[in-house]
Amino acid sequence: MAEILYFGRLSDVTGTFCEQVSLPASVSDTSAVRSWLDQENALDGALLEASVRLAVNGEIVTDPYPVTDGDEIAFLPPVGGG
């Protein structure tokens, strides 16, 4: 199982902060994860936006980055504290 995390406004959009999913065989990189989850959840492109970055196991990555069951995959909309 992979753990998917949705931060910021994406948790409102998906209705959840995290979910455990079993990645289909065809979903082996971050680009595929975006398309698959966007479609599964009928999000109309929210996970495909260029401003939404992905982190795999706590490191921000550039698409397409290889993923596998067991990874923690986080969707990060634009960040900012203070």
Partner: protein
């Protein structure tokens, strides 16, 4: 030192402790960020800050290291709140100490620009008209770009 916590903190106390530790410093700069009571349209009731540990902490530690490499700092201190806050509450505190003032000013400014645009946090504002996720302003990204070295 870096502290990310959902517990309230007192900026003046943090400054006092920081200054006491900064032996030999001639200049201490502090920045305190407070929850404002006015959003664009209506009164702010709550500000919620979300972090992603340990990415948030790691990123801030790297920014602090970059500041210490770039300026001759004696010490620096960063505190950032998470969770729910009310108007007037301190969200963020940055303090820098150096022999002369220019390094202290620039490093504090640099760290705040990092925290505003690159630190791994998300902010949600609750007003009478509902909740809204807040992203950095165009000015914030412009401020941050000042530190890019060609």
């Amino acid at each position: 030192m870096i502290r990310i916590s959902d517990q309230p903190f007192d900026a003046a106390e943090a400054l006092s402790e920081f200054t006491a530790r900064a032996t030999g410093a001639g200049a201490v700069v502090s920045f305190t960020g407070l929850v404002r009571d006015q959003a664009s349209s209506s009164k702010v009731e709550t500000l919620h800050l979300q972090a992603y540990s340990p990415m948030t902490e790691t990123g801030i530690a790297e920014a602090r290291k970059a500041a210490h490499e770039r300026w001759p700092l004696i010490d620096s201190h960063i505190i950032h709140r998470t969770g729910d806050m009310s108007p007037g509450d301190a969200i963020v505190f940055v303090a820098t100490a150096s022999a002369h003032r220019r390094a202290a000013f620039e490093a504090a400014d640099f760290l705040m620009d990092y925290l505003k645009t690159e630190a791994i946090f998300w902010k949600k504002e609750t007003t009478a008209s509902g909740t809204q996720w807040i992203e950095p302003r165009a000015e914030d990204y412009k401020d941050r770009a000042r530190w890019t070295r060609s």
